[in-house]
Symmetry: C2
Subunit: 473 residues, 2 copies
């Protein structure tokens, strides 16, 4: 990977030393420069090689983030915000070195407002911690990207996951952000009103900006009432096409499905093996319905009829928590289940998203491509949104295979773009997908992003080498 | 109103003449410079005085918009995009003169994709025209700001209205925009995928930008399935507080209400008089539920129980289209009904939005303020979102009364801001609310908007004098 290598060579060692010296004098142990800590903070869950920062600072307040960012601005040293480290496209790598801000100590719930169905949290709290905190309120935060990611990181990458078809993504569920911008000023992007027409949408500009415009320090999030009842189940289909037709019909009927996940035949094989389940090795939809007792029964029955129409089924659904939890545990273990197909490999997890009318075609072509390329790569999809993931199980010691996998990912992205889709539905651009951004947005679109980046971070210190290179173009 | 007066004095008559001359030579009658047409295009539905443009051009293609924008850029002449002219804060005024682009001839439906539940339209089509076009598809576009606004204008002002509590605002329902930017380049902000994490959210940056960053030339919109069944009705409450408590309980219960509108006692008096209805002159909620036959009955019954808990009711609801249409006709006639309270006056329509926990307090304080100020001003609210409107019925010949009304609007905005709300939930900033923007976003927030404006429109030709003044600050 050549990403950021040039910038890396240019790093100013003296400037970095001055920043680290200042922070150590001010904060002692809260600045870490040991090899292991630095490597861990450059670590990503993809195959992209680690590029460690020069130091890791653990701020405990907005004022400390401001101090660190101002110091870095003064010395032209990169600032790399770090949440839980579960991002997938090299977002937390430090190709030009610099200071990692590990937001993990800023993990408090600052307010829960039950009447307004919202809360304000610090960025380091994870979604599981937040939902644990909310357990007695009757409310929950629905966005579930699989990993137990931090809320700050989820906002930064515009994360979504299994519930997005009903509850939306981070785009829809962040009411307001407080961020330290590249010049050290604090911006609060919006008040707590559910909607506003007051000026440019600064909230949505920062959601998905991957730390390249500012450091998210507080989030005000929409919460949702825990549904009175939940039903769910697994439904097998004879083909990916049949499953996708059922998905389209379900959405057209207006069934307010909460989760609708497709696992392809290879993926079901892995899940069955890993979780000791006895489902058929054919494409399956995992479904969940939220509502009143009457409504979740009605929704499940309506879906069952649709499935039958497209030769799917039987659709066995249940309202009991235990049965549903077993089902979703199996779905969430998909990533780990994959390795049973090829132990000892590393998973390259990539995602694209297309209009749902093109989803079956896109998955079927991708399955054929995987077979032709000689890769082992199960597929799972948040199909209600047209979003799917491919996990390529690679032998990292076989450079020819890695190169083959990379070329496959290139074809996958271009296939999605050719179908009016996007090169990433929820993982983000990071380093790994920078090459596809211009193909997706055109030169004019990327130039517009570049103009915004230059206007808000003229020194290019905020997470440089991610999304766009402001110097090119 | 001093808004834009300074810029107006600076206008370069020769530059304007050159632009108009060029366009007349190229397009003949599609450039209009007559007094009546110009006045009509500076006309707004508020009390803000008309500031007419120097000419009105009716483009018929993106290429023609590009040509006009490039010409205006070359001569430093303002460009003011115009949809249906139903905006409320002086958005289409031309304080520094310039060229109005009336998008009314670009009003085609370019594609309807039933499987994807989306469509692509030109900006001049109105929401009623779009829904008429969709009538045989089983789909509809839900955003209904009251006026038969153009879709381009609705995106530009981040419009919403009665259905937003269930279906979201323009923010959630625009998938992608094609816009001509200030330098004449065409940007398509996104593909058609339901979600994407690919780079900065250019779509949401343009939604709500009020023509100050670019001219919207195409919109790809989310559509929704027409619900199988609809139920609805009116429910009286003893007080605004009781009605708001019922609203909060309804949302906390997760009832997926489609519309939930509050009309205060004075508003009900006007509606009863105007529409010949016999409802009590006490605060009422207008409700609508969408879903299956079983679900809309269940939702209405659940709401009825909640209403009773807060001393409201009786809640008489119906599934018959005729009864519901009469009800919503009465609600939609609210603006006109107001004038029965004080014939011969002009309505100053303003809106704010607060967290719903503060809504009752905000409305009650506002009612007291109206009484103390000696104004006649009914209130209606999209209360599921915490958004409400006040229509001040003013004698425009009484300058003292107009000044009193303006001071009242100032207090209303500051009241909403003090309750963590916004100075506009759906009307936008335009000219009328520029003074409140910095109070809402702080200097750092407005400076961030200013930096974006300067980066994307360095000559300040795109709808100048609206939202922010890039030269100040």
């Amino acid at each position: 990977m050549a990403v950021g290598a040039k910038a890396g060579q240019e790093r100013d060692r003296d400037a970095v030393a001055r920043v680290l010296e200042h922070l150590r004098a001010r904060f002692g142990e809260r600045l870490q420069t040991g090899h292991a800590v630095r490597e861990q903070h450059g670590h990503t869950t993809t195959y992209i090689p680690t590029q460690a920062p020069d130091g890791v600072f653990f701020p405990e307040s907005i004022a400390e983030v401001q101090e660190a960012v101002r110091l870095c601005a003064e010395h032209r040293v990169p600032v790399i915000p770090f949440g839980a480290g579960s991002s997938l496209e090299g977002h937390v790598n430090a190709p030009a070195g610099g200071l990692c801000l590990d937001m993990g100590r800023m993990n408090r719930v600052l307010a829960v407002r039950q009447e307004d169905l919202d809360c304000t949290v610090e960025p380091g709290i994870t979604r599981e911690e937040l939902n644990h905190h909310l357990r007695d309120t009757g409310l929950f935060f629905p966005i579930d990207p699989g990993a137990n990611a931090s809320l700050g990181g989820m906002a930064a990458t515009r994360a979504s996951g299994t519930n997005a078809v009903r509850y939306g993504t981070m785009r829809e569920n962040v009411l307001s952000l407080t961020a330290v911008m590249a010049d050290g000023r604090v911006v609060r992007t919006a008040r707590r009103a559910r909607k506003s027409s007051a000026g440019y949408d600064l909230t949505r500009l920062l959601v998905g900006s991957e730390g390249t415009l500012g450091v998210i320090c507080e989030l005000t999030l929409r919460l949702h009432g825990i549904p009175q009842a939940i039903s769910g189940g697994i439904c097998p289909f004879p083909s990916v096409e049949a499953a996708c037709q059922a998905v389209i019909a379900t959405i057209q009927m207006g069934i307010p499905v909460a989760r609708m996940e497709l696992v392809n035949a290879l993926g079901m094989q892995a899940i069955n093996r890993y979780s000791g389940l006895g489902y058929p090795d054919s494409p399956c939809l995992f479904l969940e319905f939220h509502g009143t007792e009457a409504s979740v029964a009605e929704q499940a029955e309506m879906f069952g009829e649709i499935a039958e129409e497209f030769s799917g089924g039987p659709f066995n659904w249940a309202r009991e928590a235990e049965a549903r939890q077993r089902l979703w545990k199996a779905r969430h273990d998909f990533y780990w289940a994959g390795f049973t197909l090829r132990p000892g490999t590393k998973g390259l997890a990539t995602d694209v998203c297309v209009p749902i009318s093109r989803l079956a075609e896109c998955i079927v072509e991708t399955e054929a491509d995987i077979a032709e390329t000689g890769l082992v790569a199960p597929i799972v999809g948040h199909v209600g949104d047209g979003n799917f993931h491919v996990t390529v199980l690679m032998d990292m010691d076989d450079s020819e295979e890695v190169a083959r996998a990379e070329r496959f990912v290139g074809r996958l992205n271009r296939r999605a773009l050719a179908m009016e889709g996007t090169c990433t539905g929820e993982h983000g651009i990071g380093q790994g997908k920078m090459r596809y951004l211009e193909e997706e947005h055109g030169t004019a679109g990327v130039d517009m992003m570049r103009a915004i980046k230059k206007a808000l971070d003229p020194l290019n210190i905020m997470n440089p080498g991610k999304i766009i290179d402001p110097a090119s173009g």
